[in-house]
Symmetry: C2
Subunit: 616 residues, 2 copies
């Protein structure tokens, strides 16, 4: 196992370009938008533990703790780089409420204290351990951002109680969480505190999963929460996709901390199963609304795609951890795919509204059909982003994931420093006893050129990911290629490198076994997947065929904050009113075709959208 | 309104070829197979009215009367041309039971006499009037076949009671049937008996529909049973497709008998709406399982297609009646399309098993997907024909429709005699005071040549349908074209005509608005739509592209009883295990492609099937 360590986002300044804009919007707009929605829906108020059956407060939901926890974690990540007394005070207020309302035994859960105290640790699907995990992640982030350890201590007390209940007394009604999350949070806490018992608890939950029959709700099976097999025997990604990738992330973390090669083997197989058979080209996963789940190999239908925003994030989290134990560019490729596509589509361009589901096609005719049949068939995703959801896991996951972009950019190992992501930025961190600085000057992803200035990296390698999508990359220095990284020998204290990636539009096909996409193609330029929208191309998008020999014209568009791409195509038309005509009665006429970034769909009118188009 | 009259099947002998074989199988195998299933399930026993809550007999279902009625009608149609004492005795036995168990007031309904007598005329959706309609059709057919009028008299008594309840007393809990059928049956009875009151009752039910709010079950809306508008205002085919076309058939019948131009206008619009926007290329209608219903224009999805066998039959019934009041080849075109495709697919090649739903694609990967998600999404049709269904409307509809093929072949009007369908046959009927005989010698549909010998048609026109699918037809005599018919002047008592239709394979496209078929094509030869099966072409049928310039090789296949067609194509393949690859990494290899008649799919292994394929 070749282990490397990620460079913290705290040591990376994204000081311009695409992600600087997104992070600014995240700080200025999105975090506050989420906070307001959570205020309005009573989620903050719930931390006062003053809900009663008779009162007029909204009844806390079992996962409200986790919503606020992710919001706190987002705030902490932002605070670490952008101190804000008011924001910090807001967090402190919640921490005080947690302290006040925590049980003497350490237990902290809103729903199972104020609504259903008799239900504690009885229902595996009731998200208690999931909430504990998110609170733990938030506590670590807040401690690392501010140095204040009150929240951390409260959570340690809670986790010690959980260890007592689950590992020692075994007195809970179930053995492992119904929704994984606490595993990776415990490793995070272990890394923060160095206290072995948290790693042990993580290992306990991971080791026990799938070893015994588990209580399940009526409509799901044991694959739903990955309890169908002991985790080391799992080779295909099954069940609820967020649960799955949170588990796999915890497994990868544990493999690293315990040098567990069996876990590594399982993680590698699970990752490959996802990206080779069960992932949309956008990085979206979990194709079915039923169970928000993986289904079968190559089942990647576009207009019914679930592809939850949280699931894309969870895949990036898993991929990112995989590179820490199996350095290969394929992992950072997926992180990038998620950031620019299936994740970013979950957020509106104005930063205020969210998609839970991220379909790859919107076909309003299908929605009309559903309305016409009264009882619906296959569920269709909504076509407009919303400001608030009843189940609001995605919005605060979006805010923390944008704030954490810097976490995914670099790592260090015995061989050298690795560059995984490209963005205008300055990084400064300690490595091998020296202070290393790396500057990137780039307009990526709108332009494929990146200038690196590196200091302090004497006699170690400088390894730059060559993106999997990149047909042609040029460097101004000699390099070798290792696991998808261009490896440069660094022989001087100062190292200047110029990278030039070809981000010309490129047409992709699916594996022929993807039965939803046969005869259809997708356009990608650099890491960005493109789509057609009715707003630009008129209705009936499925009938547009892009010319195989089209010229692509690329230009930057301020509204989308990215390049748009124009091409030439043919549109099928038929003068006959007949439903079926001899093939030669169907004519085509030349049309201009405009592609916009997939992530930016549904930011104008409520119109049709299509990723997979025909070629002619 | 130009009215014509159909020549009865009784006057037409199908004495060879495709339909003679099907009719023989219908007599020898299918009618008996249906009888046995109905025996086994207690449907015949139910006519003894001896079911009790305490007993061990199967509880009669509300539509069992209609199942047996259609079986009797089928038997009657067969008896008329093939006397069979045993079969006649079986029918007489049931008629005796009907006589014995009919109420003194005339009421006859198994369920609402023995199971729920307090429910009589209370539930619009409980099929009472529907059952009465089918019993009436059966009684007319049996009277016409045997001259025995007992059954007919029993039904007249029942219908007089229905008229009293619905038209005079208005004492029922609803005004018009929840499932149409009785309307067309009443017109049939009127035509048989000449008794005006039955036409009046048909007119009453048709006129009242959609005029007042109607009771509906929870999950359906007023379109479900065409009660959303007065029928004369209806312009789009809505709701349950069998209900719809039975209604439209009754409307067309009534339009003819009462010279109702408003009804004709509505019927024309409804027919065009179906065939121009809501019909599969197979003649299947009702694309959604939910409500077994029409949905919206151009919604013709293939693998979830409902396209009930009864619905195809009902469309042919409607089309056939339309030609009686608006002579145009487009109506007989649809009758032919249904007979050779979306209807015939409902019956196995051995005559023993049935499809209720007739999808245009079977994709087992979709079924695997459904199993994986535990709760299903959009319903998928079964992939194998069954010998019996709980709701068994289709099997006895199949038997009567095969037996009635001769009814659809000819009609007569002031202008002359019309030939609608082609089949090896001899017809002899009275027309304009003379006895006309028409012989067809043909191997249609395997060959496009038909030789007609006509006698007794002096000074009237002989009008032969030029099929809409026919790119090239040649006759050995001069003709003019009128409403899609080749019109020949007959100037001699004996008239010999040779017709030669080009039945070469022909590739069809959908209207570009059919969003399920974009970029896909279908193959038809003569009236027969073709499909690909995995048994011949391997898996992943969607990835086969037939060459645009392929040579088609046609040869007769004994197993399918029709021509099969071989072609050349390309199959997409990709050596990479990657899910997404640059388009040029996908290669194609030449493959032989075999098409079989669509109606014959699923008669070998349980494999994938596809109608709409790619071209390359």
């Amino acid at each position: 196992m070749y282990k490397t360590n990620p460079v913290s986002f705290a040591d990376v300044e994204i000081n311009g370009g695409f992600w600087a804009k997104k992070q600014k919007m995240n700080r200025d707009v999105t975090l506050e938008a989420v906070r307001l929605r959570f205020e309005e829906t009573g989620r903050f108020e719930a931390f006062k533990f003053n809900w009663t059956e008779e009162g007029n407060l909204s009844k806390p939901h079992i996962f409200w703790d986790s919503d606020i926890a992710k919001w706190i974690e987002s705030a902490a990540l932002i605070l670490r780089k952008n101190p804000d007394k008011q924001l910090e005070a807001k967090v402190d207020e919640i921490v005080d409420l947690i302290e006040k309302n925590q049980g003497e035994d350490g237990y902290f859960n809103i729903f199972f204290t104020v609504c259903e105290p008799e239900g504690r640790w009885k229902n595996r699907d009731a998200h208690e351990l999931y909430c504990a995990g998110h609170l733990t992640e938030a506590a670590v982030a807040y401690y690392e951002a501010t140095g204040k350890d009150k929240f951390l201590q409260l959570m340690k007390k809670y986790l010690d109680y959980i260890a007592q209940v689950f590992m020692v007394e075994k007195s809970a009604g179930f053995t492992t969480p119904g929704h994984e999350e606490i595993e990776l949070a415990l490793v995070k806490l272990y890394r923060c505190t160095g206290e072995q018992r948290f790693l042990d608890l993580a290992k306990f939950f991971i080791d026990e999963r799938g070893k015994e029959s588990q209580s399940l709700t009526g409509w799901c099976n044991s694959k739903y929460n990955q309890s169908h097999l002991p985790v080391r025997e799992q080779r295909t990604a099954e069940g609820h996709s967020v649960r799955a990738c949170y588990l796999y992330s915890g497994m990868a973390d544990l493999a690293k901390e315990t040098d567990d090669e069996e876990l590594l083997t399982a993680c590698k197989a699970l990752f490959d199963n996802i990206v080779q058979r069960r992932m949309y080209i956008t990085g979206g996963i979990g194709s079915s609304h039923e169970g928000e789940a993986f289904t079968v190999d190559y089942d990647l239908q576009n207009n019914t795609a679930y592809a939850e925003t949280c699931a894309a994030i969870s895949l990036a989290m898993f991929a990112n951890r995989m590179k820490d134990i199996d350095m290969n560019a394929k992992y950072a490729d997926i992180v990038e795919k998620v950031y620019y596509n299936g994740f970013l589509s979950g957020l509106s361009l104005d930063g205020k509204a969210f998609f839970y589901e991220n379909p790859l096609e919107i076909l309003h005719a299908e929605h009309d059909r559903h309305k016409s049949i009264h009882r619906s068939g296959e569920r269709l995703p909504i076509t407009r982003r919303q400001e608030v959801f009843g189940c609001s896991c995605c919005p605060p996951n979006v805010t923390r994931f944008i704030a954490a972009f810097g976490d995914y950019m670099y790592s260090t190992g015995d061989n050298g420093v690795y560059v995984h992501q490209f963005a205008e930025s300055c990084a400064a961190f300690d490595y091998c006893g020296a202070n290393v600085t790396i500057n990137q000057v780039t307009e990526y992803p709108h332009d494929g050129k990146v200038k690196f200035s590196v200091c302090g990296l004497l006699n170690k390698h400088f390894c730059v990911r060559i993106p999997g999508w990149c047909a042609d990359v040029r460097f101004n220095k000699q390099y070798t290629v290792e696991n998808g990284y261009a490896v440069f020998a660094v022989d001087n204290d100062t190292f200047e490198l110029e990278m030039d990636m070809d981000i010309s539009p490129r047409i992709y096909a699916s594996n022929p076994l993807v039965f939803a996409n046969n005869g259809r193609y997708a356009l990608q330029a650099g890491p960005i997947v493109y789509c057609l929208e009715e707003d630009d191309n008129g209705s009936n998008l499925r009938d547009i065929a892009v010319l195989r020999n089209t010229t692509f014209t690329v230009h930057y568009d301020e509204f989308f904050g990215a390049n748009v791409i124009d091409a030439q195509g043919l549109r099928t038309q038929c003068d006959s009113s007949a439903l079926y005509v001899p093939a030669d009665a169907v004519q085509t006429k030349p049309v201009d075709v405009r592609f916009i970034p997939y992530y930016a769909f549904a930011n104008r009118s409520d119109c049709d959208m299509l990723v997979w188009f025909k070629l002619s």
